[in-house]
Amino acid sequence: MNSTVAAKNGDYTIPKLHYINAAKGLKSWLTTVDHKRIAILYLISVTIAFFLGGIFALLIRLELFKPGEQFYGPDLYNQFFTLHGAIMIFLFIIPSAPAVFGNFVLPLQIGAIDVAFPKLNLASWYLYVIGASFAVYSMLTSAIDTGWTFYTPYSTSTSTAVISMTFGVFILGFSSIFTGMNFIVTVHRLRAPGLTWFKLPLMTWALYATAIIQVLATPVLAITLLLLILEKAFGIGIFDPAMGGDPVLFQHFFWFYSHPAVYIMILPGMGVISDLIACFSRRNIFGYKFIAFSSLAIAFLGFLVWGHHMYTSGQSELSSVIFSFLTFMVAIPSAIKVFNWTTTMYKGSISLETPMLYAMAFIFLFAIGGLTGITLGALSVDIHLHDTYYVVAHFHYVMIGGAVIAFLGGIHFWWPKMFGRMYNNFWSVVAFVFVFVGFNLTFMTQFFLGSKGMPRRYHDYLPEFAQLNGFSSVGALIQGIGYTIILINMIVSLKRGKPAGPNPWGARTLEWEHTTSPPDEHNFDGVPAITHDPYDFRAPK
């Protein structure tokens, strides 16, 4: 086992042998069963997906910069917003945190050599690639224009490539299911001796809760999309009113998955934030058990609220009332986390490194996202705000301001562990400012657009909505610059970054204390001994 050598002046060197250079050549990467390499494969894939989805976002905001048709017509616009949504949700957000951080960090955090089923793990990645290929194929033929929600009967009657896109998403669903299965078994069966549940990092708890949702919710999406494909191909008549079917039934099936899906998107990010705040406050997390159990509560309650997407759909009033009540209940565990994270900073020793900036931005932005979710949960208010830009603003606050910000925080945190090198700090802060400012400009304006009555998925809008749309489009450009700077900064660091050493942040979880940077192919030298709690910064080294 190679270890890093600290030279006299405190500089580190990259270990001679690690998981990246353990085997060379493209084939070794494409046939790997090493969870760390699979994480990197995912990282590359989801980054491509993110920028592809981002290009569609910029195209949308470009057209919406001013009222009237600027650059292209409504048919193309409708395809762009559909592809933006479908790519970002199915090819980026849902896989990102579980497949990138989960794969890299989960076995390390529990002291394991790999996940429970390494070959299944590789299969998950290939399923992702195949599913993504179908999605890209559908883009290149007659790109789908139904919105990422595929509502019937529009989706059953449009002539665009619904079947290839939904089939692609169907395959992607299996990637997600297999990853979830893998992680659940890994956490149950592969923990190092002495690592009891309440000694696990909260990142592990979050990934575990996410995996449960992945396993239980995604099969319902699979059957929904399969039925949609059968409906288009054979006209089976389940969702199409012309054949005796019920379009609202489609909505129930679709949202039964897609609401828990948003908790798949946010829970791992919340896990990242727990690890970041503890580390950069150099203090034990406040309310560990409350945070751990709140992840499970969110996973459970998240299955009971899908009808809050359907208050105006024609479902019964009683259903709407029950869903509204449960929606308020599911908000509480998230609030508990936010309070506990903030209190963790009390009497801490705070260091404002870039990952911590992202963690604090998360609290700021997720609070807005969550509170506007409360607004939407209220029945009478949602009747006005449903299908307006208020909803668009709300979900971007939780998805970007929450999940993406946490993802970026995690990238900036674990990058030195994954690649052994540190990125440029100055540019990481510059990028952070661009992202934070750009994001707020893009989406804060949209709350006002929505409450003023601007509906969503509109290619053109009335002149009274023009000024806010203009600001929003400028914000999008600023955000885009920020993400691009991050990409460049990280890629440059691979060649020119300073070797980071095994634990540049002084964290206390296993991946930091017992592995090199980058880690060895087999992770640990023997089985790591568990001598202290994951966030005990006062325990002896």
Binding site: P74, D75, N78, Y151, Y154, T158, V248, R282, R283, N284, F286, G287, K289, F290, T312, S313, G314, S324, F328, A331, I332, I336, F339, N340, T342, T343, M345, Y346, K347, G348, S349, I350, S351, L352, M360, I363, F364, A367, I368, L371, T372, I374, T375, G377, A378, L379, S380, V381, D382, H384, D387, T388, S451, K452, G453, P455, R456, R457, D460, Y461
Partner: protein
């Protein structure tokens, strides 16, 4: 928020602002604490030992669970109450039948009058909307009334409102329905009792006192033809009609026809039978929507846009 122009709009706004102010309060508390802690407990240079802060406090945890639960339950009941008011139609409401289709709205009044994209109502009187779609799901959205309800095919959905202020308000489609979803816009015109009665009468005698072409021009806008057909030489979802009359038109099957009166009439009542090359077969039929004299007027209007005389 838009002007609150219905009986239940004010309550919606009150709840919205209640949630907003509570949100701002808690947001300021949390973010303020976070920033304060970040400054007050900033790591000092040379600090080696990690601080020994509190790890849990059951009283605090209980408080910040119980207080939010109480607040959200209040919000829940308030929203529930407003929602029930929106769901129960008053007994004496005037019923207007609404048909949504790609990409315009048709309104039918109790005595048989029909309008397109224009919902005229009497101030201070409850109105029931009985809605259905001819094709995909649409959604009736009147921001000033805080009203929204999905409009479904093969089924009726019902909603109601009582307008409180005279004026003109936007009416949008709020469920994505294809190409011209963002053009499926109408106007709600709230009028006094006498103005409303006058307007209903005028619908019956519409077209009197003006030439057919002038009547046709009004219909061209009020019946939403203008959504897809421009008359100024620019391209829309449908062919531009300026100067078309009397000229040869090429169809998608390669044949050519002359755009005479019969062709215009057929294009209105059976639009899929002859589609101009380069355009999609998406025009809905106006059979049953337009009266005979309205079709005549539209043909006269198209003639007046120029072209070859027969």
């Amino acid at each position: 928020m838009p002007p609150a122009a219905s009986t239940y709009a004010g309550d919606v706004d009150a709840l919205y602002y209640f949630i907003l102010y509570i949100s701002i309060f808690f947001f300021t508390l949390i973010v303020g604490a976070m920033i304060y802690f970040a400054i007050r407990y900033r790591r000092k240079k040379g600090e080696t030992e990690a601080p020994d802060g509190p790890t849990h406090n059951t009283f605090l945890e209980t408080t910040w669970i119980v207080v939010p639960v109480i607040i959200v339950i209040i919000i829940f009941f308030w929203g529930f109450r407003g929602y029930m008011i929106m769901s129960v139609v008053p007994a004496n409401a005037m019923e207007i039948k609404v048909t949504g289709q790609k990409w315009f709205w048709t309104f039918s009044y109790p005595d048989g009058q029909m309008t397109t994209n224009e919902l005229v109502v009497e101030v201070g009187k409850p109105v029931k909307l009985l809605m259905s779609s001819k094709d995909v799901i649409h959604s009736m959205f009147i921001p000033a009334f805080r009203l929204k309800r999905d409009v479904l095919p093969n089924r009726y959905s019902i909603t109601w409102f009582e307008a409180t202020q005279i004026g003109d308000y936007h009416l949008f489609c709020a469920e994505y329905c294809g190409t011209s979803h963002s053009k499926m816009i109408g106007t709600v015109k709230v009028r006094s009792s006498s103005d409303f009665a006058e307007w209903l009468e005028s619908l019956d005698s519409a077209g009197e006192g003006v030439t057919p072409a002038e009547y046709g021009e009004k219909l061209f806008t009020s019946r939403a033809c203008i959504t897809c057909h421009h008359v100024d030489g620019t391209v829309g979802t449908g062919p531009d009609l300026q100067g078309i009359f009397g000229h040869e038109v090429e169809l998608t099957d390669g044949t050519k026809v002359t755009a005479d009166e019969n062709y215009i009439r057929e294009s209105i009542l059976d639009p899929i039978s002859k589609v101009v090359v380069g355009y999609q077969p998406v025009m809905p039929t106006f059979q049953g929507i337009l009266k005979e004299k309205e079709v005549d007027a539209l043909i006269a209007y198209v003639k007046s846009l120029g072209g070859k005389d027969e």
